[in-house]
Amino acid sequence: MPRIGCLGRIIIVTFVLLVLLIIGRLFFPLPMPHIELAAEEVFSIAGFPITNTMLAAGLTILVVGGVSYAATRRMRLVPKGLQNFVEAVLEVLINFVEDTAGKEYGRKFFPVIATIFIFVIANAWLALIPGFMFIGIGEEQVPLLRGANTDINFPLALALISFVFVEYWGFRSHGFFRYMRRFFNPRGLLRGIGQIFRGKLRSGLGSLFTGVIEAFAGLIEMISELVRIVSLTFRLFGNMTAGELLILIMLFLIPWVAVIPFYGLELFLGFVQALIFGGLTLVFVVMAVTPREEYE
């Protein structure tokens, strides 16, 4: 068998792909994908629209809840089968959270972090089931199900929950005023003004200057906390939507075969996004509860 060089391999792969493309386009065409950024309404209950992503989220809840129920229905001290698997996964998550947040906080943070992780990854992976998006309904053939991660409302909801969670723990662990001082820090300003009034003009101006900087830093701090909502939302939304579109387009362009690597990619991406969302929330909450010397 003659050795095939790097270039030769590329040519062969390209050729095979082209042949597959032509065969797929000619003999097994798939319909032009139905691309819609916003979640579509499937039906409505008393004026409240039920979208396909809500249904998908509901399906995720059913599947995850069902697996959990099946795994923990009859717990054994020596686990096997599903219980073993679920325990192993959960133990990895517990260790991840407790390594980052410490034993004491880890126990308290774990449920929220784990739920975020599980929800995101389950949404992403369930949406990869072939045919998930291809069950049309109604006259316009609206897809019945669509991965909840690709509806901006879901990442936004998660980001809001993450934000509220982080700030709640910040307030709770430091006390209201002490935690607020991170964002509104007028002490330097007030001291400077006081010094000027007492006639110490020189040191008063110095304090005034540092006070302005401190107040500004607090403002930046607040903005950065708020921006997290946006960044968390659009990171998840953008990645998952792009992945979904990628698969749809690849299915349309080169049906059947060429899409398989992208499925693998999307599996990995779903895991990574879930890890990022949960991990960032964890890091933020740890930052929020960690005392800072400058404010203590």
Partner: protein, 167 residues
Amino acid sequence: MEGIGIAWQGLLAQLISFAILFGLLTFLLYKPVRRMLDERSNRIKEGMEQAELIKERLSQTERQVRQQLEAARKEGQNVIAQAEKMGEQVKDEARQEARQEAQAIIARSRLEIDRERDEAMEELRRQFVDLAITAAEKVIRETLDREKHRRLIAEVLEEGAKEGGDG
């Protein structure tokens, strides 16, 4: 905002779905698994402590057994040594006794032999005397004084015996 589909209904629905999943997982997954993990780690800790205890006890027992074995062996050796000594003694005694008995038997036999020899000699002498008398009677063919003869012959024999005994 319309284009990417932010809608309060969707947001609300997803918040609710998160809350539902959170509740479900808390009761179906986190709590039972947590409990199980804690229980298991407790069990393992207990088990290890127990194993440690058992190991300690085992080594203690082993030491005791070894000590007892040592003592038993020493005692056994003592017993054996004593028995050997006793056996030796018994053997000596038996040998002594046997020798004494043998000597007694020999002495008794010698006595018997002496006695029988004496008897035999006496008998022989008596027969010889009778024979001599008869012979003398036959030689002389007449009976003189039988008593005289006998004494005469006895005297002669006595002398002869004395000579023979000495010889």
